[in-house]
């Protein structure tokens, strides 16, 4: 085993309800959706209308400014709804699934026999391309760029995160095929980030043509942004790409089987789930297909596609996000608490040491969505730094964004972070600052400025 990179700053929030390593059989969902809102900065243009029939792999919409980038239906069936929000922004394109899926056929091919352009073409036309994200900015990669490296984090440290090694079991061949395809795309290396706490799954540990890196430490050690920072940080003008390992598998299937098969193993977790387990799902599935009858009915709950720090709130009949590999269910915090700020707080988990709960190590908590306080200006200092294992001054970066000072944002390292890397800052903030939202606004400003 090569050198272990130790991450010292960070925080593992001890939430109750982590999924057991058991894969449960479930029925197919009734409808599936692709949500343009999963792709920051995207302006979608529809390729279909309500009533059209689509196959798994046929495009539903594309990027207005990069028409090559297609977003494909994960299943075959009929387009039943295009949900729009304010100013007619497209929120969801919903497909009612057939009982057995018909796939659009793309030729099978070994990536090693294809040229770079052929690999890109194949990924674009099959709707696989959006699973490749670029840094800086965390947006869908630009097919005309050549990234200096590709980073894949093979473990997830976020609260209640799925055990990706479990989700990748039996997918060794597809993962390797995906890696082979990605190798064609970069001029540099493919970096795989692994946890040093346990031996990685065969698919990850035995992958060929990659460089393995081992990390140890609390969240966000599993975030690919943190790993990039410690392996080969992004400088101004550089571009690297990142892919989630479950999506590498989906890319691999395209080359092995010639189809867009967006099936992945997804965790259902959270304190309100009766038996937190894993399920095999197709990307974009309506979540009631897995949460039905499995959730505590006595309280108001919030369904989140993704983890509790960065996920999106969805309805009971909402859809799994494109990049998400878990559904979290936690109680809503829409209740009052008498003099709550004065209570000793033996059952209130806090990253600070101002509650008695700090004296009970190892306890798991049922945390709700209450804001636990009002918004204030910055008063406390040093909080963000404790949970941000990067050589970056987070508060200064946030202030530069609020001031819309492009030069300062660049100097303070905005190229190296996206929302997930600073989500813990938002969690611990005494002043309840909307860190992730501010950061995305800053990133959008940078994109506008650079284009």
């Amino acid at each position: 085993m090569s050198k272990v990179i130790k991450i010292r700053r960070g925080l593992d929030i001890p939430l109750r309800g982590k999924a057991e390593n058991i894969l449960v059989k479930n029925e197919m969902a009734e409808t599936y959706a692709v949500k343009p809102t999963d792709f920051p900065g995207l302006t979608p243009k529809l390729n279909v209308q309500v009533g059209d029939r689509v196959l798994a792999g046929s495009p539903l919409f594309h990027d207005k400014y990069r028409p090559d980038v297609l977003f494909a239906s994960p299943v075959s069936g009929e387009v039943v709804e295009v949900r729009r929000g304010e100013r007619r922004v497209i929120l969801e394109v919903v497909v009612k699934a057939d009982t057995s899926i018909e796939y659009a056929q793309f030729e099978t091919a070994s990536p090693n026999d294809l040229s770079r352009e052929q690999v890109i073409q194949k990924l674009l036309s099959s709707g696989n391309w959006p699973s490749i994200k670029q840094r800086p900015f965390g947006i869908v990669a630009n097919p005309t760029d050549v990234p200096k490296a590709i980073f894949i984090s093979c473990f997830d440290t976020s609260p209640l995160a799925p055990y990706l090694d479990f989700a990748a079991q039996g997918e060794e061949e597809a993962f390797q095929a995906g890696i082979d395809a990605l190798r064609k795309l970069t001029s540099g290396k493919i970096h795989l980030g692994l946890s040093s706490d346990y031996p990685a799954a065969k698919a990850f540990a035995q992958a060929q043509g990659v460089e393995h890196h081992f990390f140890k430490g609390p969240h966000p050690a599993g975030n690919v942004g943190i790993q990039i920072h410690h392996i080969d940080p992004i400088n101004k003008g550089e571009v690297v790409w990142t892919v989630n390992p479950l999506e590498v598998i989906i890319i691999g299937r395209l080359f092995l089987n010639g189809i867009y098969d967006a099936t992945k193993v997804v965790a259902l977790a959270g304190s309100e789930v009766i038996n937190p387990r894993y399920f095999r799902l197709i990307s974009g599935a309506r979540i009631d297909s897995i949460v039905k009858d499995k959730v505590n009915r006595d309280v108001d709950v919030r369904y989140i596609s993704g983890n509790v720090l960065t996920g999106q709130k969805v309805e009971y009949i909402g859809f799994l996000g494109f990049y998400d590999s878990m559904v979290s269910v936690i109680p809503e915090g829409n209740h009052y608490e008498f003099m709550g700020w004065l209570s000793p707080g033996a059952s209130k988990y806090s990253a600070s040491r101002t509650f008695l709960s700090k004296l009970i190590p190892g306890k798991k908590y049922r945390l709700d969505t209450n804001l636990n306080g009002g918004k204030r200006s910055y008063v406390m200092t040093g909080q963000y730094e404790k949970v941000m294992p990067m050589d970056i001054y987070p508060v200064y970066l946030i202030k530069a964004i609020l001031a819309e000072d492009i030069d300062k944002m660049e100097q303070l390292g905005i190229y190296e972070v996206i929302e997930e890397d600073m989500a813990l800052c938002e969690y611990v903030c005494t002043s309840k600052t909307e860190v992730q939202d501010i950061l995305r606004r800053g990133i959008n400003l940078m994109i506008k400025e650079l284009s």
Partner: protein, 366 residues
């Protein structure tokens, strides 16, 4: 109409039912109220001891000996009006500003409002407390945009205001003991002078014992005399992480370094005072624990905190020993470093920016 005011009282009584809308779905239980309450807890030992000591010093001045509770009750009645005036004036202004700006009332003043009485001499006229508090809140805080935006520590600003606006009323030997400035009976041999005043007058033999100064049986501002009570507060702040231990340690470090330097090159009796005695004299400990650590006006970067604290400690002793006009250097030294904290941070952050640029250049050269 009075939404901010209503909101302030509502959130005081109940943690509201507001849920997260954007970003992280769960949030830490800590909020500004919790933070400020911990600060107030940490101030309690110093405040309670200060009340007792007001009574105790008074009995010394009239040559009687009272019970513990008599002392405390006497001091309580003396100190309570100052606390009430400070809170009423300060909070009224805070509420008015929050109301006119339409945002929630910030809890910052709950601490400032207690700090102000604790750094006042007990015989300070109440109207002065009111004027100083109003000055500190309006000029020190609200003109910059409220808590979190201020450059200077508001409580110290109130103290500095009184010191410079009413020097005749507020310094000398009489204001530190209740009733003295009103001409109440002094028995022979009693002096209301603080240890610092005695030291500045080179009456080194008259300085109380280190034990008395550490315990706090000395005249001085209400809350500053007992180093022991302040250390209990420091422990609370450090355990909870609300106060920066880095600043506290570096202030003491800076003070000792200065004291040691003066010991080595001593040319007058004041410079000969053993360096550790400076730590228990005057407002040094109080300033180090409760004033220098104010997160808003101190250095924001972790590296900056070391520099900031060290310079405060060093300069406090420097002013103390070499400036005959004002015996206590802590207030001025902290206010001065409040002004320089952004500059310290600027250099720390600039170093980070340079590291990033250097990294980019190295890559470009390869």
């Amino acid at each position: 109409m009075f939404h901010s005011t209503f909101d302030a009282f509502e959130t005081f009584l109940f943690v509201p039912n507001k849920v997260t809308v954007k970003g992280s779905h769960i949030r830490d239980y800590i909020d500004m109220k919790r933070t400020m309450v911990i600060m107030i807890f940490a101030l309690m030992p110093a405040m309670l001891f200060g009340m007792w000591n007001v009574g105790y010093e008074y009995t010394l001045s009239i040559g009687q000996s009272w019970t513990f509770w008599q002392n405390f009750w006497f001091g309580f009645l003396k100190v309570l009006p100052i606390i009430i005036v400070s809170y009423v004036v300060g909070l009224s202004i805070e509420f008015a500003f929050a109301q006119s700006r339409g945002h929630e009332v910030n809890e910052g003043f709950l601490v400032t409002g207690l700090l102000i009485p604790l750094i006042m001499p007990v015989d300070v006229p109440l109207w002065m407390v009111a004027v100083a508090t109003a000055f500190a809140v309006v000029i020190g805080k609200e003109v910059f945009g409220g808590t979190g935006m201020n450059v200077f520590n508001p409580a110290l600003l109130a103290r500095a205001f009184i010191f410079f606006a009413y020097p005749a009323h507020i310094s000398g030997d009489k204001v530190w003991v209740a009733g003295l400035s009103g001409g109440q009976g002094i028995i022979d041999g009693f002096s209301g002078a603080t240890p610092l005043a005695k030291a500045a007058a080179y009456q080194i033999d008259k300085i109380p014992s280190v034990h008395d100064m550490f315990m706090g049986f000395i005249p001085g501002s209400i809350g500053e005399t007992s180093t022991l009570a302040i250390l209990i507060g420091a422990v609370i702040l450090i355990i909870t992480g609300i106060g920066s231990w880095k600043i506290m340690v570096s202030v003491f470090g800076g003070g000792m370094a200065a004291g040691l330097l003066f010991n080595i090159f001593a040319v007058n009796p004041y410079m000969q005072i053993p360096f550790w005695e400076h730590m228990v004299m005057g407002g040094f400990a109080f300033g180090a624990v409760f004033m220098a650590t104010d997160p808003v006006s101190s250095s924001q970067t972790e590296k900056g905190k070391w520099i900031y604290g060290f310079l405060i400690g060093f300069m406090a002793i420097l002013v103390r020993v070499f400036n005959p006009a004002y015996p206590e250097g802590m207030m001025l030294s902290i206010l001065l470093m409040n002004a320089f904290a952004p500059l310290i941070d600027y250099y720390v952050v600039q170093a980070n920016i340079r590291r990033r640029l250097k990294r980019a250049k190295q890559v470009a050269n390869v």
